[in-house]
Symmetry: C2
Subunit: 227 residues, 2 copies
């Protein structure tokens, strides 16, 4: 960890045992943040944390060891909560954790998608997963980000993302999310506007899943023309 | 015009008097295609065509002179029809032209957006403007493309787009659209899947409009990771 700890955060990854959670945990632990992988099954959270720590040690990376725990403990012990559950568990997970999330920064990465001959959108009555989170978590600072990064690339610390991260929402929490993006090698934050734009950001991931299948790629997006 | 005319097309721009139509007409006339600017008011179509021709002559560009006409005549005289009306006129325009579009390639560029404190999506019952077009034009080959290119950059032939064009739809018509993208300096075609993905491509434009206002940019998107 660097000696400048003012920008180092405690970060919980709710449902962080999947590829997206593992990828973000990899990058944020390298950046010097204290990361806890949360899971419905605490033992599974610990297992994934140990797997990541072993991998980063073998790679000779400098990093802050990742911890594993229940979603509840992970959230309680962290200032920033990143939601990386599959969409099918989105509403129930957030409702069950809502009292623990009061006053915290909650960054939603979830894409409302299901698969039936390719990826298809789930209609969300609030317009997007992130707006659904904001409706459930009335006392949290909800931000949308990290939807469009390749989990496969995130999990390999030697690789540059070469992608933009579109960040939706407002207030100080948005600035915190934007700074977190800068901690990921090759990721650039782009202010994508208020929460109501989240549906379009989430939709890009559905496009990218299709493109990855067609082009055998691990794609991302870059906004051109921003100088 | 090059001596290889096998890939030169007759192209109508329905509602082509706006920035997007003028931009595409500029690029396609430089590429050697025979372009007709269609308008509800034929005199307005002629006026815009003459404006473009004068500009390209002043710039010393090699190009095929652009023509102007009514939407009906433009469509009748062209093998490829590109729809560049505002969304408010989308359904009525296509319904009125539908019998003239039978058997033709119709490339829809239209984004269902309205403005009220920033850009907002119009809900389209078919899911997207392009799918709405396909529902109206049962006997045409409907493709979605050219949604995310900056009209301002398109109108300046010296500028490279530095943007991808996400193309939706299927069949031979899709290949024709993909080849047309390659005629635009700095634009790269990306196969974005079947028509049902059009909603996400159209949504990107709404994001980009917001980003342009926030960053004072003429932005586009690039899919990274496609090699």
């Amino acid at each position: 960890m660097s000696t400048d700890d003012t920008n180092k955060h405690s970060i919980a990854l709710v449902g962080g045992t999947g590829p997206e959670g593992k990828g973000l945990a990899t990058r944020f632990s390298i950046a010097g943040h204290t990361v806890t992988i949360g899971s419905r099954d605490p033992a599974r959270g610990v297992e994934i944390a140990e797997e990541l720590n072993s991998k980063l040690e073998i790679l000779g990376q400098s990093f802050v060891p990742v911890q594993g725990d229940s979603n509840e403990h992970a959230v309680t012990n962290s200032a920033i909560v990143i939601v990386t559950v599959p969409y099918s568990g989105h509403r129930a997970t957030l409702e069950s954790l809502s009292h623990l999330l009061d006053g915290k920064i909650v960054i939603d990465t979830v894409v409302p998608v299901y698969f039936e001959k390719g990826p298809r959108p789930v209609e969300v009555s609030e317009g997007s997963a992130t707006e659904e989170a904001a409706a459930i978590l009335q006392n949290s600072n909800v931000i949308g980000a990290f939807h469009n990064l390749s989990a496969e690339v995130l999990m390999e610390p030697a690789l540059s993302l070469d992608s933009d991260v579109l960040v939706t929402g407002g207030g100080d929490a948005k600035q915190v999310a934007i700074e977190l993006v800068r901690d990921i090698n090759g990721a650039r934050p782009v202010d994508a506007g208020p929460l109501r734009y989240s549906r379009f950001v989430e939709g890009i991931t559905i496009l990218l899943i299709g493109i990855n299948s067609r082009y055998k790629s691990h794609s991302g997006i870059v906004i051109s023309g921003l100088e």
